[in-house]
């Protein structure tokens, strides 16, 4: 080898990189006009979310949405609340212990069989034996609570309950209805993945699914009983970079980070759509293992020592809103606007820390998950150090983190999850009663005033009165700070306006592609 060869190699290398920088910018894509009669195909970012029956999809939002394209429920949700769906009307009788659902006439399954009240009763009774993957509260199906489900006529179903429950309509009304003539023989529904398992009554029919590639292809159900599907073919394809794929025209809907929004503003092809903040992070305390956390003053000191605005600015790049100590998302329809703000004040936090009965320890371990959560942990460590609280950030992969939560094996833990916009009854499940359930409850936290209100709201059938109780519950939580909500993400979506523009947000969910109303005539 010549002694100058490395130098030459270096020069060639340098030129190569400089030339790479001069690559031609991608050409602008033109608006695509459809010919008369041509099918409208909309492509969305995909990924494997399981076989979309009520028993085999994955227990995450996208998995549920795939199942709901195929299966209908008695009720649906729109921008403002619950709306009649398979049930064209319903009645609540006997002070909320008896429900009558009147089904739409002329509803057919994808295979042409008529959908009747018997299918509805079958579905609920089948779910009692075999729980579906996605169910808010399995207790509503228990024999002690749901006393009977019977079909009264060909299109009327009667539910008799042991006690009134303000959330029954939502919880039962959203369960998918499955055909009795297909499922009645099935013993292991989670393993039933014949094509006929996908016979639903919904607006879309799955005609291709690849688990390996994470692709789904749906065709519109031409015989749909309800509002007609506007998209003829709905495809989910695997995507590694949503922005790049959107710009290339391969997908028509994407999630776009804050720093890239500029590329799409003022472009007539694209529409920008901000999601409501229903996905967020919170910090949980272990009040059993570390009894000092039972002092609300210590928890308040933590809340004051955390600069939530800074988290929004730095981690979410401004795409988020700080959490409220009342726990509900500020975008929630029943959010209480008159709660203490817990503005960042490390001085006050230090003051509280020095006057505690049981003093805080020198240092705490914060269990976090991956990626962004580690960054949040690092920022929290820095912020809390200013108030004199030392934090060690202990990262773990998501599965380890979750299993340590279930075992109660943590001091402080950071969790991120969705559903901050759903029925506030989740506050009851999370913060009332003494519980051993580390995943859904808060062991060690007990406030009898809160528990009483929580029990009262679930039996209150008058919505306005119930709303007031929920407001009061938020006030108690904001004072007690059983958890610290850090921030809620405000994701920005961009879609191709020339291809399809029917995207909507239902009142309690952040993702417009997850609700079937986004795909139907309005």
């Amino acid at each position: 080898m010549n002694r100058y060869t490395p130098v030459w190699l270096f020069i060639v290398f340098l030129i190569f990189f400089l030339l790479c920088g001069c690559a031609e910018a991608p050409g602008e894509i033109e608006s695509e006009m459809r010919e008369e009669g041509e099918l409208l195909t909309v492509r969305l970012p995909g990924g494997d979310w399981g076989f979309p029956t009520p028993f085999a999809h994955y227990a995450r939002g996208p998995g549920v949405s795939h199942m709901r394209y195929i299966f209908d429920s008695l009720l649906e949700k729109d921008e403002n609340g619950l709306i009649p769906w398979l049930a064209e009307d319903y009645e609540i009788l006997d002070e909320g212990t008896r429900y009558l659902f009147y089904l739409q006439p002329d509803v057919h399954w994808h295979d042409g069989t008529a959908l009747t009240a018997d299918d509805v009763t079958f579905s609920f009774n089948y779910y009692r034996e075999h729980l579906p993957v996605w169910i808010d509260d399995p207790l509503i199906l228990s024999d002690d609570y749901l006393l009977s489900v019977e079909s009264k006529a060909e299109s009327t179903v009667e539910f008799v309950l042991a006690a009134p429950n303000a959330t029954f309509l939502e919880k039962a009304g959203r369960l998918p209805i499955i055909p009795a003539h297909i499922w009645s023989e099935i013993e292991r529904p989670d393993e039933f993945n014949d094509p006929e398992a996908l016979t639903g009554s919904g607006p879309y029919i799955l005609n291709n699914y690849s688990k390996e590639h994470g692709t789904y292809r749906y065709a519109a159900n031409q015989q749909y009983w309800g509002p007609q599907p506007r998209i003829d073919i709905l495809e989910f394809i695997p995507v590694s970079d949503e922005v790049l794929t959107l710009e290339n025209g391969d997908i028509h809907f994407a999630r776009v980070p804050a720093d890239l929004l500029e590329r799409f503003t003022d472009n007539p092809l694209y529409e920008i759509m901000e999601q409501p903040a229903f996905w967020g992070y919170r910090i949980r305390f272990n009040m059993v293992g570390l009894p000092e956390f039972q002092q609300k003053e210590l928890r308040q000191a933590f809340a004051l020592a955390i600069n939530r605005e800074e988290l929004v600015e730095k981690i979410a790049r401004g795409q988020g809103i700080p959490g409220s100590m009342g726990m509900l998302s500020p975008d929630h329809r029943w959010f209480n606007h008159n709660l203490p703000a817990y503005e960042y004040d490390s001085g006050k936090a230090t003051e509280i820390l020095s006057s505690l009965e049981t003093p805080a320890r020198e240092s705490y371990e914060l269990l976090v998950g991956e990626d962004a959560e580690v960054r949040i942990g690092e920022l929290l460590k820095e912020q809390l150090a200013r108030a004199g609280i030392n934090l060690t950030v202990a990262p773990a992969d998501l599965k380890t983190r979750d299993s340590r939560i279930i075992e109660g094996n943590y001091e402080l833990v950071l969790v991120g999850h969705g559903l901050w916009g759903t029925d506030p009854d989740y506050l009851r499940q999370r913060y009332s009663e003494e519980t051993e359930d580390w995943l859904n409850g808060t062991p060690g936290y007990n406030n009898s005033a809160f528990s009483k209100l929580a029990e009262k709201q679930v039996r209150e059938m008058d919505e306005e009165k119930r709303r007031e109780i929920i407001m009061e519950m938020q006030e108690i939580l904001a004072d007690d700070v059983p958890d610290i909500p850090l921030y809620l993400r405000v994701t920005v979506n961009i879609y191709r306006r020339d291809i399809y523009d029917g995207w909507i947000h239902i009142y309690d969910h952040h993702e417009p592609t997850h609700n079937k109303l986004s795909y139907l005539e309005r």
Partner: protein
């Protein structure tokens, strides 16, 4: 006292003379690489003196471009990149040096022992070497790193477990040759035990060869640590270069923004400099150790 000082003086003088001799024999690339390595080592050693912002606390606005206050800009949390790179050099060099020393010396010891003792010991060691060489290292390392949990110490252990086999095999073959040399046979005959021979004959003879293989190991270790960190298997709270790159790359849409021009480019540049310099120095020492090449 005077004997001691004169001893130190003479050994310093000897070291100076021999390094001067080595320096004269180095090619231009070798000299450049050595200088770069020395600069990087100085950066790591004197990181607290060379930086004026903490590496683990935000010291300015997020994602500020390179400028007067922040020499190489800041990352998304507002941490100073120059500080992170200087302190990160410690991790990269520690991993490189630690792995090279442990795997190199350990592997050499096993190789010599196998050659010298022979018999069942040799068979066991050589079969272990075969197994370690056959196993695909990166996938297994990913599993081990995930299993042991992320920390710099664990990464060094995992790297050592996978890289001792190369030097062991190399050194064994040389030691086999050396063992047959008359002077070694003589020394053994007069009662020199294994450790005596190891210290007085094998190690000094094999040192040049071992150095070459250790420098190679160091380069490999630095790259593997960076890859593991990049894949998210390093210690996520450390400030290694691989991790800075990992954070930069997981920032969504970084290539569409100007941020990559400092956040991604500089750690990449320093990593490349270190690895390329190590490779060049390795090649040079190989040439010096074996003049036939």
């Amino acid at each position: 006292m005077s004997i001691l000082t004169s001893g130190i003086k003479s050994s310093t003088a000897m070291a100076y003379r021999s390094s001067k001799r080595i320096w004269r024999n180095l090619s231009l690339m070798g000299r450049t690489a050595t200088v770069i390595l020395i600069i990087l080592a100085v950066m790591a050693l004197f990181a607290p003196q060379l930086t004026w912002h903490p590496p683990d606390a935000s010291s300015g606005p997020a994602l500020a471009p390179p400028g007067n206050t922040h020499l190489l800009g800041t990352d998304d949390l507002g941490y100073d990149l120059w500080s992170m790179i200087c302190f990160g050099a410690r991790i990269s060099l520690l991993v490189g040096l630690g792995t090279a020393l442990l795997a190199g010396l350990g592997g050499a010891f096993l190789g010599i022992a196998a050659a010298f003792r022979g018999g069942w010991l040799e068979r066991i060691i050589m079969r272990l070497v075969d197994i370690t060489i056959v196993l695909p290292d990166l996938p297994v390392m990913i599993i081990l790193a995930a299993f042991f949990g992320p920390s710099v110490r664990n990464i060094i252990i995992v790297l050592v477990l996978f890289s001792w086999a190369g030097p062991a095999r190399l050194i064994r073959s040389q030691a086999l040759m050396l063992k047959e040399q008359p002077y070694i046979k003589m020394a053994a005959h007069y009662g020199g035990n294994f450790f005596y021979l190891l210290k007085r004959h094998f190690f000094p003879e094999l040192l040049p060869l071992l150095t070459v293989s250790m420098i190679r190991l160091a380069g490999m270790a630095v790259i593997t640590e960076a890859s593991l960190s990049f894949l998210g298997l390093g210690d996520p709270t450390s400030r290694s270069w691989g991790l800075i790159i990992n954070h930069a790359v997981s920032f969504s849409g970084i290539y569409f923004t100007p941020f990559w021009k400092w956040w991604l480019l500089y750690p990449w540049l320093f990593l490349t400099l270190l690895v390329v310099s190590l490779a060049l120095v390795g090649r040079e020492t190989e040439r010096l150790a074996d003049p036939r090449l």
